[in-house]
Amino acid sequence: MTSTATATRSVVIERDMPHPAEKIWRALTERALIDQWLMSTDFEPVVGRKFNFRAPANPHWNGVTDCEVLIVEPYTRLAYSWSPSGEDAAGGMRTTVTWTLTPTSGGTHVRMEQSGFRPHEERNLQGANYGWQRFVGALEGVLSNLK
């Protein structure tokens, strides 16, 4: 299979929050706080540290996400790799989650980018000429019965 350095796609979410960057940094990096809004984790803000996020398992996934800390710039930038674990998860998806905090007059601009989604998957998903959406839609009932 070819493995050229083609462009990948990202999910980007940005919000202005009326809180100082130091406080948001705590919520992003302290385990007890991460548990409360993201997922259970053994994260530590140390570059190179491997850790997991753990969600409840479902029939399609064991709920475990494998991660490694990539960037720690206190109050400014935090990045970790994000790869759903287990046999059926995401076809070996490897993404990176990057948090960027920028002070504003009223608080902090919070930006989250999950990058590294492979484009060929999305292109195929848009193959409407094959009627795939209808087909996948018809299977939804079948899939939901497995949950």
Binding site: L33, H60, H120, N124
Partner: protein, 107 residues
């Protein structure tokens, strides 16, 4: 190699294979003989299509006596799930929870 989206689309792009897979999803485990009765093609052709579906991880087979029974593996469709859309919804939800937490935290 793990089947990717391209392989799944190629596999399901054939209308006969797609119909076989949909029937197995809908009606549960079936023998090759019963599948042939509904497929409108010969039994060797059905067996060949089932082999392609199996190599793509979409069906599994087991032999019972003289007959081979096939069943669907809907998990085999996992590579077709739009991960970007799912993660976008996921992160929006988690941002809401993060803001709720920040409101609760001491300054």
């Amino acid at each position: 190699m793990r089947p990717n989206a391209t392989q799944l689309f190629a596999t399901l792009g054939d209308p006969t294979r797609r119909a076989l897979f949909e029937r197995l999803c809908r009606d549960g485990e079936q023998t090759v003989r019963v599948l042939t009765d509904h497929a409108g093609v010969s039994q060797p052709a059905v067996s060949k299509h089932l082999g392609v579906l199996k190599r793509s991880g979409l069906v599994r087979d087991r032999r019972l006596g003289r007959e081979v029974h096939y069943s669907a593996r809907p998990n085999g469709l996992a590579p077709l799930i739009d991960w970007m859309e799912l993660y976008s919804a996921f992160w929006h939800d988690r941002f809401d929870r993060l803001e709720t937490l920040l409101d609760r935290m001491e300054p």
